[in-house]
């Protein structure tokens, strides 16, 4: 039975505590996601995302702070511009752009994090495993 | 101040792509493919793109070096060639000509390679000659 593998890059100051809150509040979300904490969502470069897909991730979730809340002032602005254009490039290359998702999650939005993971896991479940696209 | 391009042939493989060596103020600084060339058609492989890299390389020998007391010391051409002639003759007499081998370079001209193989076969009396492109 195909269980998708999802990697989540969550920023230290907003989305990771949000995910943490989901955990301490015992909010259920699918276990398909593995979370990697980064200092800021602006650190997530296109090279990193493409390598994550090559290594076998079926989906990549990038979590950042809401605009105006970034600990590093403008890191999330960079992400907000990079991710849409990378999704377009993936679309032109024939890789489904739905595999990459960007969410703005604050430290108090535990339920929102869980909801995003639930939706994303279902989306990825509907797509072929990444090894069929990138052997 | 001068910048010009000199047409030459790539020294590496047997295809013989035409390329331009970029010369800035008397030093070779780069390579450009020869557009419209019947062989290379304006394209080069990675070795061709770096065909200029060894020309001004600091590791290149500029003077004969003789090993004395375990160290390499600079010497004059006459002294170096006298030593080479003396030692090669001695080895040839003691062990026979097949104890000597000669290594040439594909970066040398055809004429230099011809001279070296004539020297190896006619003067030294052995067939042990090879060069880097065969390896």
């Amino acid at each position: 039975m195909y269980e998708p593998r999802i990697i989540g890059y969550l920023c230290t100051y907003c989305s990771y505590p949000g995910a943490d809150l989901a955990g301490t509040s015992r909010i259920k979300y699918p276990p398909n996601i593995n979370i990697i904490r980064v200092l800021c969502s602006g650190r997530v470069s296109p090279e990193l995302i493409l390598r994550t897909f090559r290594e076998g991730a079926d989906g990549v979730l990038v979590g950042g702070c809401h605009f105006g809340d970034c600990h590093f002032i403008s890191g999330n602005h960079r992400t907000a511009k990079r991710i849409p254009i990378l999704k377009k490039i993936m679309e032109y290359a024939g890789i489904e752009p739905q595999r990459l998702r960007l969410e703005w999650i604050s430290a108090s939005e535990g339920e929102r994090f869980a909801e995003a993971v639930r939706e994303f896991t279902e989306t990825i479940r509907g797509l072929p495993p990444i090894r069929e696209i990138l052997p | 101040m001068e910048y010009r391009n000199v047409l030459t042939t790539c020294i590496y493989c047997g295809v013989g792509c035409g390329l331009y060596l970029e010369i800035l103020d008397g030093k070779v600084v780069g390579t450009l493919p020869a557009k419209g060339h019947p062989v290379s058609e304006g394209k080069l492989c990675i070795k061709g793109w770096n065909a200029h890299a060894f020309i001004h390389h600091p590791d290149r020998l500029t003077k004969p070096l003789l090993r004395r007391d375990g160290r390499f010391l600079e010497a004059g051409w006459d002294e170096a060639l006298d030593l080479v002639a003396e030692r090669l003759t001695a080895i040839k007499e003691k062990y026979g000509p097949d104890a000597i081998a000669v290594l040439s370079s594909a970066k040398a001209t055809n004429e230099e390679n011809y001279l070296l193989q004539k020297f190896t076969r006619a003067v030294l009396g052995t067939n042990n000659i090879d060069h880097c492109a065969r390896l």
Binding site: R51, R54, R82 | Y20
Partner: protein, 260 residues
């Protein structure tokens, strides 16, 4: 309209006040970039095939920062110079641009939206023609997702990792290139694994690619790179309203904060 005579006159006039003009020279049966220093050399001036001249101009300017140089630039070369200047790679204050408009045959080789310069110079030799549409882009857009994937996999499997696309690009100036970093692009494999090498390169052209077509012209494997990069340029225009090489004042989109 004949361009050679008016161009020779324009370059000869420029040489009176400049230290040298970078243009193409015919020698040894071929054409290559050359820094013309004297009017007598202009008998060997050539027009085609074009070379990535902005790169060479940067090379000469870095070696002689105080010199006043000229360049015979087409539309794509002018766009390349504008984008380089925005990133402090070239000093346009000491450069005089002599514009050259492409003919219809030349524009067919590397279709671009504007085959003549308009911004950095008032002198444009040659007739300004209508831009030629890139047919491969239109054909590509009709493909489905699976067809696109199969297309690029087949194309990129021909890649020999010669780095020509990166070396000729006027906008690729990073001293440490991501494509040479073993962490992101696995080394020791030919062809480089899909999608790392080529999609990283595509991402790095965002906001920088001016559509000169040199990457595709220099690719020994005839990979249709401009098809992908043209589509990305159109996306950048739609998403950020930014057109590369159109104005010296517009800031590159990826470094700016979002407008709120």
């Amino acid at each position: 309209m004949k361009r050679m005579e008016p161009l020779k006159r324009a370059v000869a006039e420029a040489l009176r006040e400049l230290d040298g003009v970078l243009a193409l020279r015919r020698a040894w049966g071929g054409v290559a970039p050359h820094l013309f220093l004297r009017e007598e050399e202009l008998d060997e001036l050539a027009l085609w095939p074009k070379y990535p001249l902005p790169r060479t101009l940067q090379l000469i300017q870095r070696a002689h920062p105080e010199s006043r140089l000229g360049i015979v630039a087409r539309g794509c070369e002018e766009r390349g110079l504008i984008e380089m200047a925005k990133r402090n790679q070239i000093d346009l204050g000491r450069i005089k641009v002599i514009g050259l408009a492409c003919t219809a045959e030349e524009a067919q080789v590397c279709p671009c939206p504007k085959p003549y310069p308009t911004i950095l110079t008032d002198i444009v030799i040659g007739e300004k023609i209508e831009p030629v549409a890139n047919k491969m882009v239109e054909e590509f857009l009709a493909k489905s997702s699976q067809e696109r994937l199969a297309f690029w996999k087949r194309q990129f499997s021909k890649c020999i990792k010669c780095y020509a696309c990166r070396t000729v690009c006027p906008q690729c100036f990073c001293p440490e290139c991501t494509l040479e970093d073993a962490l992101w692009v696995e080394t020791g494999r030919i062809p480089p694994p899909f999608p790392s090498f080529h999609l990283v390169r595509a991402m790095h052209t965002v906001g920088k690619c001016v559509g000169c077509g040199e990457c595709e012209l220099s690719c020994p494997a005839h990979i249709p790179l401009t098809t992908l990069y043209t589509l990305i340029r159109q996306e950048v225009q739609e998403l950020f309203g930014y057109q590369t090489g159109e104005s010296l004042e517009a800031e590159p989109p990826l470094v700016l904060p979002m407008e709120m």
